[in-house]
Symmetry: C2
Subunit: 267 residues, 2 copies
Amino acid sequence: MRVLVNISYQGSQFLGFQIQQNGRTVQQQFEKILKRMHKRDIRIHPSSRTDRGVHALEQYFHFDTELNIPAQQWQYAMNRALPDDVYVNDVRFVDDDFHCRYDCVGKSYRYKIYQAAHKDPFLSGLKTFMSDELDLEAMNEAAQHFIGTHDFTGFCSQKTEVESKVRTLYESRIERTESGFDYIVTGSGFLYNMVRVLIAFLIEVGKGKRLPKEVPTLLEAKDRNQVPFTAPAEGLYLEKIYLTPSELIQDFGEDIKIHQKKSSQNH
Amino acid sequence: MRVLVNISYQGSQFLGFQIQQNGRTVQQQFEKILKRMHKRDIRIHPSSRTDRGVHALEQYFHFDTELNIPAQQWQYAMNRALPDDVYVNDVRFVDDDFHCRYDCVGKSYRYKIYQAAHKDPFLSGLKTFMSDELDLEAMNEAAQHFIGTHDFTGFCSQKTEVESKVRTLYESRIERTESGFDYIVTGSGFLYNMVRVLIAFLIEVGKGKRLPKEVPTLLEAKDRNQVPFTAPAEGLYLEKIYLTPSELIQDFGEDIKIHQKKSSQNH
């Protein structure tokens, strides 16, 4: 039986999603619980491997089990054993050929920034601080230029090891909030550090150091040296996972390009 | 020169205020910075020694220095060197006979509780979770009974080592919030774990397991075994420190009893 689990976590005390030799990770928390229940190792497969300090409002993983436990009881059992900074929102059963990573056709991220004269210690790890005034309209204009299908080689970590760096963004915009602003971006997939490089670039635009109209040239250049900054992890939230094309179509219309990636290297 | 420092901190990643052999404490963060600046050990003296996991919206400490640095530059230098979960709000110079602990005539605490069907991982370490519905009016009625001068032996940790367990509470009330409620309590001083025992008792009242009218009898009994619970540290915030009687009189009127404690053991 294949079990699909919808979770949220506060990333500040995790070294990321993926299990590591040493250190606290989200995967480790779940595999420890599942091992205890199954009396053997159980591997979980997430839709996304978030980095150290990155949060998830919605993340999915699946695993296979022979245990005959109703969905709601899976949720209850895991929540009872989990620490307070991770929570199971929902559990359901899926077909055996469903795969959290290969069936993921899109993801949304939200990057939260608060603007204030002084740092707020109670937002430490939860939002990124900026004291500068920024031109949010210019930032939003620049953000729009990323929408569509592009090679994002110039806007990801140079350590990214995937065959193709072409991704499609369906949404990329700045939203004013009570205490600052959020950057919201939805795409077919994201390269390593890509959202943190995009928002770092947009902040440069907000400061007047870069112009919105430079975006097409920079995408064309495919040169990370021209986009040198990476924003800190603490403001980054994985917000939504699209597991079917129909959900994406519902949010972004029938004309969008959908990337199916059964057995691709995409993440 | 005596320097008075007003700070805030998020307590979840600290083992408390006071320096310890091993582990991260607030005092350690400041003494490390001051040692670097002075090239010798500098001891800081707080108004309150908060426990592991307890937060401070306002806390004070003082130290003595021979360095000739303006107040604003002290603030700047410390904030630049501090981690993100502690912040210096203000620095000023005080008389040499001023003492943060002995001149403290009152403190306010706020205990934050959120009520929801599900735990929120983003409030982990910041607010205490309760799924129960509680009778807030009964809790507020019980809270009122603690106002005044009482022996709080029955409402503190049995490990409390002070001569007198008599304290005066000026304010003790429940305040409804958007996501739950806060307990606000102001007093001449607090015994070890006292606020966490008070709110744990009030929650029992909210559940209907205790009655508001039991408070006078329980105060009289001076028996902690009759009040067995202690609420978790994560919801507790030191909110205000009263360093002069006039501030207390301003908030609570001229008729209040003020405890001066030059060289007392109170904390």
